[in-house]
Subunit: 204 residues, 2 copies
């Protein structure tokens, strides 16, 4: 009964074909330009065919969002070599902001756009997001273990920290940082994060 296996394999190959096309369009024109008809054109199938492999466009964007997370996760790992927990947390924030500024399209897909969010909802279906959150959480737990942020809760603190860096990146990406002159944008954005974290009760 190798036929079923082949069929399954062919199905996966077709899904990959669709996703690869979506990825190409996304890289070349931005994810917002990824349309069903454009993908169909690219892979030389009819638009209807795509719906035999994906529930809808959002499901395809969800997969692109997962790929973006993989790239993001790799970037995050660059902080692993730092031993001092608080220094690591600071670098973590910098890496996060830098990723957002350097990859606006991927960042939107991961954290701003509605589309893949409808495929998320629960923690079970948002593996990539949870993995990233866990990474931050463990960093903050190390800080707590080292005596920083006395009396605070890991989870709450993690969400606060994440919200801070996300707020910085997303306000910038959505053009709500009009009060900052363009030439000072980058230093101000990184500075906002550092000012906040430096004002924390970070003494052991």
């Amino acid at each position: 009964m190798g036929i079923k296996q082949r069929k399954d394999r062919e199905r996966e190959e077709m899904k990959d074909l669709i996703l690869d096309a979506a990825k190409r369009i996304s890289i070349e024109e931005g994810f917002s330009k990824v349309s069903i008809r454009k993908i169909a054109e690219e892979i030389e199938y009819s638009p209807g065919t795509i719906y035999l492999y994906f529930k809808n466009r959002d499901e395809i964007l969800f997969e692109l969002h997962n790929l973006a997370f993989q790239k993001f996760y790799k970037e995050q790992l660059k902080i692993s070599h730092i031993n001092e927990p608080f220094e690591k947390l600071k670098e973590h924030g910098r890496v996060y902001i830098k990723f957002g500024l350097d990859n606006p399209d991927l960042y939107e897909l991961m954290f701003i756009v509605q589309a893949p969010g409808n495929e998320i909802e629960t923690s079970q279906s948002w593996n990539e997001g949870m993995k990233t959150f866990e990474f931050l959480r463990s960093n903050i737990q190390e800080c707590l273990d080292a005596g920083y942020f006395k009396g605070s809760d890991v989870n709450t603190l993690s969400i606060a920290m994440w919200s801070l860096v996300h707020g910085i990146v997303s306000l910038y990406l959505r053009k709500r940082m009009a009060m900052v002159p363009k030439e000072f944008m980058k230093p101000v954005l990184f500075g906002a994060f550092e000012t906040m974290i430096d004002n924390l009760n970070n003494k052991k």
Copy 2:
């Protein structure tokens, strides 16, 4: 030569007619459902007419965004009675988050959606946004004057604080708070803000 005046007045009346229709649709179905054709239908004019009064759809959304800011600003004023600057800042944050959770559609229009952002860009053209920022800035200046956040810059601190609350609200609205069980959502969101601010070097 009263004709020119009448013409100008009629032009303003027509703009209001369009905006009122846009507002109605926005309230009833959400701003994302505000389409040129739907407005045209509502006011019993052809779609093309709308373009004689507004450059494009974004300009209409920008006006709705301004109205949202007016409501937001009124809400913010509720903290004015608090004298102690740090307590006021805390309440300011709570009011901000509450507004976002209670008015998701307005919040999106003000701070998340791309559309009105293209009409913003510079501080000159984003009056409403700047007004709100100034309000926060003055609150933080009061904190600095009272000895809080020693050695920090007002502007940078304001941006950091704003980013924190915006991050909390926008991650929630865009369904990226999957790690928080729904029943604890509200307390966790407010808690994230309070944990962060309580961890600040807020002693005089």
